[in-house]
């Protein structure tokens, strides 16, 4: 316990881990949105979504290598590169997600539920294998292009990078919210999520709606890919498996199909991860060895008492 006290000093460390958890959570939220958008519309768990996110990190690494980026960039160069990378990342993942829908899932829409599920798993394998063939099996560091300046607020170091990530993620989530609430296409998506047949009867182009869900979900995952490359900065062909699994968990935790749930779940899971690593460090193997068990334990407990997730709607039993 003495060890515990020595390594878990004070409020500064708590807020430091909280800040890290929020940054991690922002990325999980972006990827969770992709899962929830697709599930809300066609009730499919897009198992390949994590690998779509991974491919954004891979392509950005290849582009940064092609541009010869090695060290910190400053001023306009940094802004230009960030805008370029954001556009590329979002475009790559959006294109990939939409292609998967068109090639693998569309034909299976009327098929029994397991068929598109297995197809998704298959696509996941394909994306992982191609990535492994492209960049090998190891971890490749993404060049540290973002400056490491940090604000010091009462001892807690908050880096400008984390503020940028948070701002970018929240900005994208707000844009998504406005899109869904105010535009015609957004309304169409909400209608299709509620009842696809009725929406079709109302004149909603179901194909286009599904296309938008995959497009937007993919784009958000692509943005998360850029964030991941800047913060974690380790590109690996298998990253999408775990990251996607956790993001999906976050979506379920917050209420699958609910966009606000995905955001809440993402941030919540990120914070739980960071705090568990610190405050469960006394367990054998350290907090990091137990953190998955803790997070999934919380998930299971939550689902036992609230099966539709934190923000999910309670569906009454059909009579």
């Amino acid at each position: 316990m003495l060890e515990f006290a020595a390594t878990n000093g004070g409020p500064v460390l708590f807020f430091q881990q909280l800040e890290l958890g929020i940054t991690l959570g922002a990325m999980y939220a972006l990827v969770a949105l992709g899962y929830t958008l697709v599930y809300g519309i066609i009730e499919l768990i897009n198992f390949a979504h994590g690998d779509v996110f991974m491919w954004s990190t891979v392509v950005l690494l290849l582009v940064s290598n092609a541009l010869g980026l090695k060290g910190t960039l400053g001023g306009f160069a940094l802004i230009g590169v960030l805008i370029l990378f954001l556009a590329i990342g979002m475009a790559v993942s959006a294109f990939l997600n939409v292609s998967i829908e068109r090639l693998a899932y569309r034909r299976l829409r009327k098929a029994p539920r397991l068929a598109p599920l297995i197809a998704a798993v298959g696509v996941s394998f394909i994306l992982e294998n191609i990535a492994q063939l492209t960049i090998g099996s190891g971890f490749i560091a993404f060049p540290p292009i973002f400056p490491t300046t940090a604000l010091n607020i009462f001892g807690v170091k908050i880096s400008i990078l984390h503020i940028f990530i948070f701002g970018l993620a929240v900005g994208l989530m707000y844009a998504l919210d406005r899109f869904i609430q105010t535009t015609k296409l957004g309304r169409a998506m909400r209608a299709t999520a509620q009842d696809p047949e009725a929406a079709a009867l109302m004149g909603v182009n179901v194909n286009r709606t599904i296309f938008m869900a995959f497009l937007i979900g993919g784009a958000l995952a692509g943005a998360a890919g850029l964030c991941y490359n800047l913060v974690i900065a380790q590109v690996n062909f298998f990253t999408g498996f775990k990251f996607g699994l956790i993001a999906f968990t976050a979506a379920v935790f917050g209420g699958i199909g609910n966009v606000y749930g995905a955001v809440a779940g993402g941030f919540a899971i990120g914070i739980i991860y960071a705090l568990s690593i610190q405050y469960f460090n006394f367990l054998p193997g350290g907090g990091v060895a137990w953190v998955d068990a803790i997070v999934f334990g919380i998930l299971v407990l939550t689902l036992v008492f609230r099966p539709s997730g934190i923000l999910g709607q309670q569906v009454p039993d059909k009579v």
């Binding site: 020595a6 560091a141 690996n236 990253t239």
Partner: protein, 422 residues
């Protein structure tokens, strides 16, 4: 008429073929009957010489090949050549391919000894075969203690009785010290050379990493240091490493020990520590990270500084004796590139086998696998890597040698040699 002719021709040709093959068989069997001894001896090698492991596997094999080429003529009419086998599979060295290679070498009656394998995982499948055939196999690089020490076998998923069947003489030998020695060397290095009083221990959850970490902790605390905490990481936790790094920094250790290989998360953790502000915190590891270019790629050029790693083989720069320099120049002349540390170990392994064969010839005994094995078991050889003698388990009782490497300015640099034991 035609019919009878055909019958005669058919029967005649069958008879001719039968007589010819009997004759050939008679010739063949008479040469192994002892009156006509085949003096063209062979030493086999088994290394991963293609794919991802080739950068170490091939130069190691070349070290053995050099010794064999230098001793092509053993005197008394005996000649020596090499048969090189490759055990690289689709994703690294493959134990099944290694086993097949050893079967091929065993089937060749002229093969008197083998140098290899590179990987402990491959050795696990080869040792039962060479023991059953009493074919000497000396590894220049296997460090898994479970291969020869029964008390470590179970923890390393090794069926000791299957590898070393009772009643058979020990035919597997190895030159480098085993991993539990390496962990101790690291503990001593961290406490004495780096002057660390507190250590944060990390392992990668593999048997190798846990073994190293356990030995490090024992030695570090025995010397008087304190292990602040001990955690286990895996590569799929990479996205949580910023938080893990904060945890480590908050504990204020003087040094971090990483038991494991680069790709299992160590490199990513070092990068995360650097990003979190621990720019001067040193990290010590074993041969899973030492001199590994992948470490620089993963931990970034700036982040990988202040990493130390050990390799159970001599650095080129320490091969300054006349024999050492002769080896380096002969190797470079023959292969066009400098040897790696394991090349010297393989050279010594091959030279031990060659010396053993020469001892058997000089003693007037027939050159058989059993006699060569006995000669190797009894040998006392001084080579590039020091004095080598084998104990009953096949381990090197002549003392251990480790090269310490450090990352300076984003590149691995040789720091010092550490000698342990005899």
């Amino acid at each position: 008429m035609q019919h009878r002719l055909k019958r005669i021709l058919t029967q005649g040709s069958i008879a001719a073929i039968t007589i010819a093959s009997l004759g050939l068989a008679a010739c063949g069997s008479s040469s192994s009957a002892g009156t006509n001894v085949n003096k063209a001896l062979i030493i086999g090698t088994d290394f991963p010489t293609s794919g991802t492991d080739a950068s170490l596997g091939l130069p190691t094999q070349q070290g053995a090949d050099l010794a064999i080429a230098q001793n092509a003529n053993l005197g008394n009419g005996y000649t020596l050549t090499a048969i090189d086998k490759n055990d690289e599979g689709t994703s690294g060295a493959d134990p099944n391919i290694g086993a097949q290679n050893i079967q091929d070498l065993i089937a060749n009656a002229q093969v008197m000894a083998v140098v290899g394998p590179f990987n402990s995982g491959v050795a696990k499948s080869e040792i039962p075969l060479v023991n059953a055939a009493t074919l000497t196999e000396i590894s220049p690089s296997n460090t898994n203690p479970g291969l020869t020490k029964q008390q470590y076998a179970a923890a390393n998923n090794i069926n000791f009785a299957q590898l070393h069947p009772a009643g058979l003489p020990e035919s597997y030998f190895r030159i480098p010290a085993t991993d539990e020695v390496q962990g101790k060397v690291n503990g001593d290095f961290a406490f004495t050379t780096l002057g660390a009083k507190t250590a944060y221990v990390v392992d990668d959850k593999t048997v190798y990493g846990i073994g190293l970490a356990t030995q490090f902790k024992q030695e570090f605390t025995a010397k008087g240091g304190t292990v602040v905490n001990s955690i286990e990481i895996t590569p799929d936790q990479v996205s949580t490493f910023p938080s893990v790094a904060q945890t480590i920094i908050a504990a204020k250790p003087d040094v971090i020990f990483y038991g494991g290989v680069t790709s299992q998360g160590g490199g990513a953790l070092k990068a995360a520590l650097y990003q979190a502000g621990a720019t001067t915190l040193p990290m010590v590891g074993g041969d899973g990270i030492a001199d590994d270019p992948g470490w620089i790629t993963t931990a970034t050029a700036a982040g990988s500084n202040n990493t130390y790693g050990t390799i159970p083989a001599p650095d080129l720069s320490s091969l300054t004796s006349s024999a050492g320099s002769a080896f380096v120049s002969a190797f470079t002349a023959k292969y066009g590139s400098a040897p790696v540390p394991y090349s010297a170990m393989a050279y010594d392994a091959a030279m031990i086998e060659i010396t053993a064969i020469k001892n058997v010839i000089a003693a007037g005994k027939p050159v058989t696998r059993a006699n060569v094995r006995d000669a190797v078991a009894a040998i006392n050889y001084t080579g590039l890597t020091g004095t080598i003698a084998f104990d009953a388990n096949g381990d090197n009782s002549g003392g251990a040698l480790y090269s310490v490497y450090e990352v300076v300015n984003g590149a691995w640099v040789f720091k010092q040699t550490v000698h342990v034991g005899a």
